[in-house]
Amino acid sequence: MPAAIEIHSLRKVFGEKVAVADLTLTVERGEVFGFLGPNGAGKTTAVKMLLGLIAPTSGEGKLLGLPLGDHLGRERVGFLPEHFRFHDWLTAEEFLRLHGELYRMSSDRLRQRVPELLDLVGLAPHAGKRLRTFSKGMLQRIGLAQALLNDPKLVLLDEPTSGLDPVGRRLVRDIIHDLREGGTTVFLNSHLLSEVEITCDRVAFIKHGVVLRTSILQELVEGELTVEVRARGLTSEVLSGLSRWSPGVRADGEHLSLTLAGEADLPDINRYLVERGVDVYSLSPQNISLEDLFIQIVGTDGGL
């Protein structure tokens, strides 16, 4: 079975502005994939290229095995755009019906599927109301329902939780969880890192339209850790000896901060310090948060 998303050297230039420089990425079937980057990193442009809304300047790719831009490739793809603007003179039910028809679903199937989805996103009581009267959160819910109409194999969500209250966010998280259980691939474009931390299997960090790093989230978060040490009697000789475990040693008086590849090194470091006559008062490992990692990889300039 071909990968859900496979792109090679995708590039998009608008006039003089390079929106996406060189994007190469593979998302396997069944993954929940987080696409992270600062504002203006080219995330939305990348998603639009995947869906054929924007033609790449160069490069190529496949969506569920079909070339980008082929409309048949989007048959089983759901999409929730970032700025979800819909035909607001339609009622919620009509809106889902319309989009189901665009998926070429039969009317029998729609009769069953539309109420199902309204129920799933908690909008069943509002089925007959026009979208014009909906709050931002309700619009996002109906947008999400629209993306799930045709039992998609791949769902692309562009900032799906940005307008939602905590209840709505929980709903999105639960839906993503259910999709994963059902084997659906989810491509999540987000800068809400806590959200990504909870839901994603794998993440890519992008900046200026280039993937800086792709990592399995579990390894990332469990792997790297920082250790805060409080000790007296630290000499520069002792400090330089620590570099065998940690490339980045920061010392400030009694305080010492180390970045380690894993916690297996902790006893060795403690032994090393004690053997050299250092008085260790505390040694506390801290798992690195996705936010720290994001800043570390992407930088603090926000990609400007």
Binding site: L53, A55, E75, F79, L98, L102, Y103, R104
Partner: protein, 278 residues
Amino acid sequence: MRTTLVIARLTFREAARRKILLAAVALGVIFLVVYAIGFYYVNKDLSTSGNAGLIERSEIRNFFMMAGLYVVNFLCVMMAVLTSVDTLSGEIASGTIHTLVAKPVQRWEIVVGKALGFSGMLTLYVLLMGGGVVAVVYLLGGYQAPNVLRGLSLMWLNVILLLNVSLLGGATLSTLANGVLVFGMYGIAFLGGWIEQVGSLVQNQTAVNIGIISSLIIPSEAIWRRAAYEMQSPLVQALGFSPFSSGSVPSLFMIAYAIVYAAIALLLAIRQFRLRDL
């Protein structure tokens, strides 16, 4: 094909929901009522006064009908442009197009669907308004102009032409720029038509040529003048001048040109929309 129909229906439904249809039909009916009342009194005088001969009477009835159709033509053109000027550019600007295009649909299906929806709506409008004027004159005055069907068909062609040009503009430009462009072109053709008309009256070939060239920019006014020529009374045709037509009658070649023009405009609209980054 199914997608095209879904989009056509959506277009129709949008016009209905946003009360565009209601406004158009309500005002159309008011127009026809006012027109009928006016015609009723003119016709009554005409029938009772002994001064007017039989030929004169039918000339006046024909004139009255042409005046009505002249306004209808203008209203239809306005309808064609105003309803469609925003449909592509507006959806692109607001982003409602994103969820449509991200579906398993092809871009041309969206353009053709919209064209189909608007064409249907405008056809009904031309029938209501143009047919209404013709019916009022026939029912109240007992007068039937020549070649009514041909004339109304040409008016319909005019509407489709402007619709397609407005779709092409909408696929390329912003709503405002599109409106300025289409009405600007229409204005040039309108002015050119009058220059040609007066030119033919004073027999100035340069003025006639200016008119023909402006009709090549957009043949909308030329189609109307051909429609007016078709429905004119034989006497006016022979005399060769009335406010609605002229001695310089747009040729059938110009009509063929208009048909090709409309078709190419739609094809270009599809092409532009297909190539556009959304």
